[in-house]
Amino acid sequence: MTQVNRLDGGLIDRSTPLGFTFDGRRYGGFAGDTLASALVANGVRLVGRSFKYHRPRGIISAGSEEPNGLVELRTGARREPNSRVTMTELHDGLVAASQNRFPSLGFDLMAVNDRLSNFLGAGFYYKTFMWPKAFWERVYEPVIRRAAGLGALSGEDDPDVYDRGFRHCDLLVIGAGPAGLSAALTAGRAGAEVILVDEDFRAGGRLLQESFGVGGVSGADWAATVVAELQSLPNVRLMPRSTAIGVFDHGIHAVLERTGDHIAAPDAGKPRQILWRVYARRSLLCAGATERLIGFADNDRPGIMQAGAVRGYVNRFAATPAEHVAVFTNNDDGHRTATDLAAAGVDVAAIIDSRPDAPKSEVAEVLAGAVVTGTGGRLGIGHVDIRLAGGGRKHVQCGALAVSGGWNPNVHLTCHHRGRPAWQDDICAFVPGEGVPPGMAVAGAARGVFSTAGTIGDGQAQAIAQLAEIGIAAAADTLPEAEDAPVRVTPLWHVPGKKRAWLDQQNDVTVKDVKLAHQENFRAVEHLKRYTTLGMAGDQGRTSNVLGLAIMAELTGKSIAETGTTIYRPPYTPTPIAAFAGRSVGRDFRPTRLTPSHHWAAEQGATFVEAGAWLRAQWFPREGETHWRESVDREVLATRNSVGVCDVSTLGKIDIQGRDAGAFLDLAYSNTFSTLAVGKTRYGLMLREDGMVMDDGTTARLGEMHYVMTTTTANAGSVYRHLEFVRQCLRPDMDVQLISATDSWAQFAVAGPNARRVLQELVDPQHDISNEGFPFMACGAISVCGGVPARLFRISFSGELAYEIAVPARYGDSMIRALMAAGEPWGITPYGTEALGVMRIEKGHVTGNELNGTITARNLGMARMVSAKKDSIGAVLAGREALVAEDGLCLVGLEALDDGQVIAGSHLFDAEGPVDAAHDRGYVTSAAYSPHIGASIGLGFITRGAERHGEVVRALNPLEGRSALVRICSPHFIDPEGERLRG
């Protein structure tokens, strides 16, 4: 396991050797390596095959912008495709596999695509796959799907846990390079609450990759000293392995922390990643810069890398990409790579500097004014072809080529509010321009200040300015000495030539594609991007954007400033969707609300249904029952014949108190409640301001200034919100207070001819609940079971003699058991939401099915419930012409003929005649099998319904090709005179 390209020195920990596997072969590395640096140290140049052309590819960077080194990490359910090798911390036993190749990286059959490149240029899919039409779905799509993409998902559920988190600070410093460390130190010493984030596992940024000293010590040592001081300050929080992925309004930032990706697997219950919402009063972007390459023929061979990355591997990771390395540069920075290579004992094969006035080098001959015109080598670079200043040709053997085209400040986060970067000629780069998110400032290389001294000073100065804005005074401590070289760059975007030159290596976009876009008139940068897909890959154009638009600028004859640039969106780097979900996965997607009798119902083996956030018992199957209809029919018959009990705790309950409680209800309800006697309940209709029915329920008057309103389960929250709107925004003068009481009470409906008998077993004897003492629609505070406070309401949803009995929720479980025990002599039957639904349909009570937002009181046959004598929400607009038309919809009952089935959602048409929109007479809103009637019944709306009882019409379901004949009748199938209710 010798690491052939390992050097001495570096920041790795040789006392901790690690083993890993790539494409089935075992290699060695050390703690402090990334997977990328370990591959480089082991001489592995070929790491992938490109997206479209399946060309051999190698690592080009040492950072999060890496477009080629994308591998599948891990195995089994935790396998993750498209993981960047440069951002993968090495740990013992790491398993990685290359992607997008068959059968192997070295021999990939799909490389045939490269020979078809003339047909596969930018936008080729707009011009192909058109004929024959029959092939679209059956041939082209399956083939394209198989060929598309890079890595593959495991196909299994993600077993990892992801957390969300929330943090607050005065100053969020994004990036822990020299600028960020300097800023955090300044702010930390000033006592501000500081959070310092960096995507790397070790602070220092470029200092770790350069050989400069700072304040007389190595850059890495200086960074470590600063980190130590920051760690000692309680007001500073350091977050390594954390990427600021987005900037949102008012200082809200998203930071993705990778807490479990650098180890084999997180411990049980520990998150793999945490997505933090950071509330920052101010932020300072110190995100550094990304090096550009240069376009030239075959510039994508494995071994061609950013010059800064090459010396990064040498200085930080003690790894050289090859024994012989050439350098191609248009600026002074590229020369540093040559110097650092030589210092590490690596041969510098040549320094090719495109500038005629290139400086001399001490470590190798400089070919001034020369350019690289091509490269050669199988599965990796073997030599470069050079055209010298005079026109002569030269051929240099090398195993790696370090390319420096200049540096692009990482302005991305400044664009997240549609900020537009501005072109700065002297450094040939875009810097933050207008529209930087309010509260954010930028320091260091991220705004084009590139020297070490410059970044350290800028970080301090910007931090002081940011803190001053929020009233915190910070001191400008003495700055350490560091290099302060100026930027000297002469633009060279590409070397013109016939062969393809790559710009965006991840999406396989070449200079030829930019020319094609120009030719086809997709010249604006936004069109260039989308037509060629330049910059639309995982790095969002960090390695390709500026080159592409600079070439477009050349073609159009405009300046780069005039051409402009596309901007960037969150997330800054690829982020798993699971991180956004956090814990809201599966059953935990949203909170579950359980009724007080839930555990008892589960003991009975009830089947549950989700009703919004609630779980409600749907039916209670008995031994031997094999189909839900058996259970539901039994529950309905048992209730109507004797007595049944149902948990109705989920309905909203709103406690309303105050001198104006009655007047308040008069405004909120269409009918009148100030006239309701104490000890009585009344059905109320609540309209929206546009006249549509919003909700209904019964409201009880428990005292002079005390009402309790019920709402439907689904609308409890929205009705409460609406009532607070009326109270605070429309009638702040009214003396009324509201509070939700939904969870406080366990409430059970007890219904059927024997309901009173059951309750008399439990209600304390001093309370008279006889028919005379507690008539239909009575209510009151009582006590049960020897003094437990309770409330009793004589209301009926089922149409039977019925009550609702409420006890404080802590007694709910005990209460249902007591009701069941008390009701045993009469065969009391628990019933669920299905039986509840059947019975209310039989009785003709409306629910949310009927109150669908387009239905008025008049449609329900309840026009008289909208009082004309008082103001109420919705009354005026309910009187609009179209809503009071003679032929409006009217609520009716429907009974299926000939063993047919009424299906909710069906539309109603005359028995004979056309079936089209013009002849659509109405629709079915609710349907159920009625064991009482022995047929399928339903409720619905039909024009002129009140006049059409007895008529037979068609109920059609064209989507499923079904139809039924139904007879229109009264919606009250059971006990229309209400005798059972009042007995």
Binding site: Q737, R810, G812
Partner: protein
């Protein structure tokens, strides 16, 4: 005649009490709670009643401890600011409050509206910052805020900065809130 027994918000007879990592999560089910809302034009009478029974009334974002009341088992008993002219009183039952405040306030028993978890330990904030956007790091004894925890409407009361908090959540969501707290404690 049958007699009724009580269950905790989580549906058991014994309140939940477990220490996970460095944090103890304890369900408190025996504390009375009542909502207290001033009625219009009753400011003077309300303040007088409050002074006699509760001492100082809390400002927005705060809770004030009061000596009286059946906190039960040494539980904290405070008056918590819930909204304009609205308070949640711990440790005093609604009937006692009604007797004190009379017609100056709307009083509603809330003992069964909430599930209450008291969380104590070395670094409760590390756990709470996985749950809510409230700035729990800055909260000191007497800070109280209404906020969301995993889409549940909750109240966070700080009893001692950094180490002692009460979390109230809707009783019907007790199991979901419990799960969220336990998972957060275990994830540290």
């Amino acid at each position: 005649m049958a007699s009724l027994t009580q269950t905790t918000a989580l549906g058991g007879t014994i309140p939940f009490d477990e220490t996970i990592g460095g944090n103890r999560i304890r369900e408190v089910s025996e504390a009375a709670m009542a909502s207290l809302a001033m009625l219009k034009g009753q400011g003077a009478a309300f303040k007088k009643a409050a002074a006699s029974r509760l001492g100082e009334l809390p400002a927005p974002g705060h809770a004030v401890g009061h000596a009286a009341g059946h906190g039960g088992g040494g539980n904290h008993a405070s008056t918590i600011w819930m909204g304009p002219d609205q308070y949640l009183v711990e440790g005093i039952d609604a009937a006692t409050l009604a007797a004190t405040f009379g017609a100056s306030a709307a009083i509603t028993d809330q003992s069964d509206a909430w599930v209450r978890f008291d969380v104590t330990g070395g670094d409760v904030v590390a756990m709470l910052e996985r749950l809510s956007g409230a700035d729990t790091r800055r909260m000191q004894a007497g800070s109280a805020t209404r906020t969301a925890i995993h889409h549940m409407h909750c109240v966070i009361v700080c009893r001692a900065g950094g180490t002692d908090f009460t979390i109230l959540g809707p009783r019907s969501s007790a199991a979901s809130l419990h799960h969220a707290l336990v998972a957060a404690a275990a994830s540290l």
